[in-house]
């Protein structure tokens, strides 16, 4: 059996359908063993603060796939808060924007955050998996 590329990946997206599709693609193509899903950016932040000290790679993702347009706290709001977290276990965690937005301003803005390594337009497809 092939090995999973990552122990865990996190999806932050308010669309349940997108989460279902993405989860399906990621697990089927052996990208991650554990896929942690949050439909709100706030819940994801709470999760990190609750797991500050854990070193379990199954619980702390190496990659976060982050949507931009979400109610209450959008993707950029999350990035601001996320980059404030100083916990050691998140030092190597990178963010990939996964959004239906094609607004060049959004793409440009994403580059301002050091944790962001890539920008993918939805839907997530097989071609994108190499980037992850």
């Amino acid at each position: 059996m092939n090995e999973y590329k990552y122990k865990s990946i996190m999806l932050i997206d308010d669309s349940d359908i997108d989460n279902m599709v993405n989860k399906h693609i990621l697990s089927k193509n052996m990208v991650a063993e554990n896929i942690i899903v949050f439909t709100s950016a706030n819940d994801a932040l709470t999760y990190f603060s609750e797991n500050k000290t854990t070193t379990d790679e199954m619980l702390i993702p190496k990659i976060i796939l982050l949507d931009i347009n979400m109610p209450i706290m959008n993707g950029f709001g999350f990035l601001v808060e996320f980059e404030k977290i100083t916990a050691d276990n998140l030092k190597n965690t990178k963010v990939i924007m996964l959004t239906s937005s094609v607004d060049p301003n959004d793409i440009r803005r994403s580059k301002d955050y050091s944790s962001v390594i890539s920008f993918i337009s939805k839907p997530l497809s097989l071609e994108h998996l190499d980037e992850i």
Binding site: S15, I17, I25, S100, V102, S125
Partner: protein, 528 residues
């Protein structure tokens, strides 16, 4: 007969001697003129009268002409002899008789001077305007008025001129005072030296309240500097007309929008600038409408942008679902349905992307970068490799090697993506070979790109509409009707132009011209 040409003047104070001489001359056929000389009318004056251009005449109190100087011939065509002894009123125009009578009566009341203008009947039957001033001569002994001495001259020119000035002055005043537009005159500092009455209805000020003040003092502080500079520039260049719109404070403190057309005035017959004449009107309603319109356009653009974006979300969910479904479904007919759904989703996606592109092109800022046009074109062509129609195309590329330009990359991409996809899509399958020729070359500081195909062509009747929004010239097409609209807008925003040549069933050539040296950040839009 010969003798009649001479005029004999008898200067003689003794009545008996005078009569004797007069009768003798008369008997010999001389035409003698009777002039009695006294202190105030001596020989010296007489010679003056005989030689002046004005007509000097002497009348008795009942208006008989006793003497007329030779200049009367110039004036009326009569010789002095012909008018001698005739009544002055015989020469009056019927319309002037009443006026003349009252004038003559008033001379007795004023005891001396009179001045009047009247029409004098010429020998040839026409009338001449005459200006006459006269005064009474008094009898030395009785001190009673005895005769009238008059000086007359042709007043035709003056009368006509006066009439003309009067009419045009009246006309100008009528226009200036009754126009709803405000007419003003300024010196070069903007100080009012004439303000028409409409200032009151327009601004609440009486003209007198504005005279002597500078127009700039009334301007909205946000507009004053720009308008002042604009006007100074206009005066410096000293040409044409300067039109400006600005906010102006009314007497009640309120600001209204005014549009003024300003023109320079010059000292008569010179090129020395004297001042500025302005015609101003209240354009508040129009301005309010324009602002409302701008807001609406912005709102509409935002609406298109937002709704396209918001539709993109669920659409990409659908695409994601389809991606999974395709990998898992095995049922033949289900696969067919999913393929059809996928096609529709793809069309929808194309429309949304086009709409987003339009808002980006019309609203977006321009980001100038160095572009190698050949790379752009080659990249676009290869991006279409997966289209089923691509396989049939025979490409002929004729690309000039060293063309580099500085433009917005997404605009340039939009132009050629749309032109090339159209050439691919509207190929003519009845032809043995579908060819698309693309050439790039420099021409007079412009880049010229030609995309030429031997496809279906565009009927002449449709050619003028193909660049319109949502125009679809082909019933078989699956396009959004936005492609060439995007092309036109992207070309214009890049400061270029696009020209279409096409013949139905023969093919189409799109020629795009783009500026090679683009130094300005805001390209000049040009109509196609």
């Amino acid at each position: 007969m010969q003798q009649q040409k001479f005029k004999v003047l008898i200067v003689e104070d003794k009545k008996a001697d005078y009569d004797l001489l007069y009768n003798e001359l008369k008997a010999k056929g001389y035409n003698a003129q009777v002039i009695e000389l006294r202190n105030e009318f001596d020989l010296k004056y007489l010679s003056l009268a005989e030689n002046t251009n004005d007509v000097i005449s002497v009348h008795n109190l009942s208006g008989d002409i006793l003497y007329a100087s030779p200049a009367i011939f110039e004036l009326s065509g009569y010789t002095p002899e012909e008018v001698l002894g005739r009544k002055l009123r015989d020469f009056f125009h019927i319309d002037d008789v009443a006026q003349m009578r009252s004038q003559l009566e008033s001379i007795f009341e004023n005891k001396n001077k009179l001045r009047f203008e009247y029409r004098f009947l010429n020998k040839n039957g026409t009338y001449t305007w005459i200006e006459t001033s006269g005064r009474l001569l008094f009898d030395e002994k009785t001190n009673e008025p005895k005769e009238i001495i008059a000086v007359s001259r042709d007043a035709t020119d003056r009368m006509l001129n006066d009439q003309r000035i009067k009419t045009s002055e009246e006309q100008y005043r009528l226009i200036a005072e009754n126009a709803t537009d405000m007419i003003t005159r300024h010196d070069l500092e903007g100080v009012y030296n004439y303000v028409s009455n409409s200032s009151y209805t327009m601004l609440g000020y009486n003209p007198a309240e504005m005279l002597g003040k500078s127009a700039f003092d009334f301007l909205h502080p946000d507009d004053a500097i720009a308008i002042k500079n604009g006007l100074l520039d206009f005066v410096d260049k000293g040409l044409g007309i300067y039109t400006a719109a600005y906010r102006y404070q009314k007497k009640n403190g309120e600001y209204i929008w005014i549009e003024s057309t300003n023109k320079l005035t010059y000292v008569d017959n010179t090129n020395v600038i004297q001042g500025i004449i302005s015609i101003s009107r209240d354009i508040s309603d129009r301005k309010a409408f324009e602002i409302k319109l701008e807001d609406k356009i912005k709102e509409l653009d935002t609406f298109i942008y937002r709704s396209s974006h918001d539709l993109k979300g669920p659409l990409s969910s659908l695409q994601g679902l389809l991606n999974i479904a395709k990998t898992e479904i095995v049922d033949e007919s289900a696969i067919q349905y999913f393929n059809l759904i996928e096609k529709s989703v793809h069309n929808l996606d194309t429309i949304l992307m086009d709409l987003l592109n339009i808002t980006k092109i019309t609203q977006g800022s321009i980001n100038l970068v160095d572009i190698h046009i050949n790379d752009v074109i080659l990249k676009i062509i290869s991006s279409f490799e997966n289209l089923p129609e691509y396989a049939n195309i025979h490409w002929e590329l004729n690309l000039d090697n060293d063309i580099q330009l500085r433009l917005d990359k997404s605009l340039v991409n939009n132009i050629f993506q749309n032109l090339i996809i159209n050439a691919i899509r509207y190929q003519d399958s009845s032809k043995p070979k579908s060819t698309i020729k693309i050439s790039t070359f420099k021409k007079n500081n412009e880049l010229m790109v030609q995309v030429e195909d031997n496809g279906q062509g565009i009927p002449e009747t449709l050619q003028r509409n193909v660049f319109d929004m949502f125009f679809r010239g082909n019933t078989k097409s699956s396009g959004t009707g936005l492609g060439l609209y995007i092309v036109r807008n992207a070309v214009e925003k890049s400061g270029g132009r696009v020209i279409l040549e096409s013949e139905e069933n023969r093919g189409t050539i799109f020629t795009v011209y783009l500026p090679l040296n683009n130094n300005s950040e805001t390209p000049i839009p040009q109509l196609v």
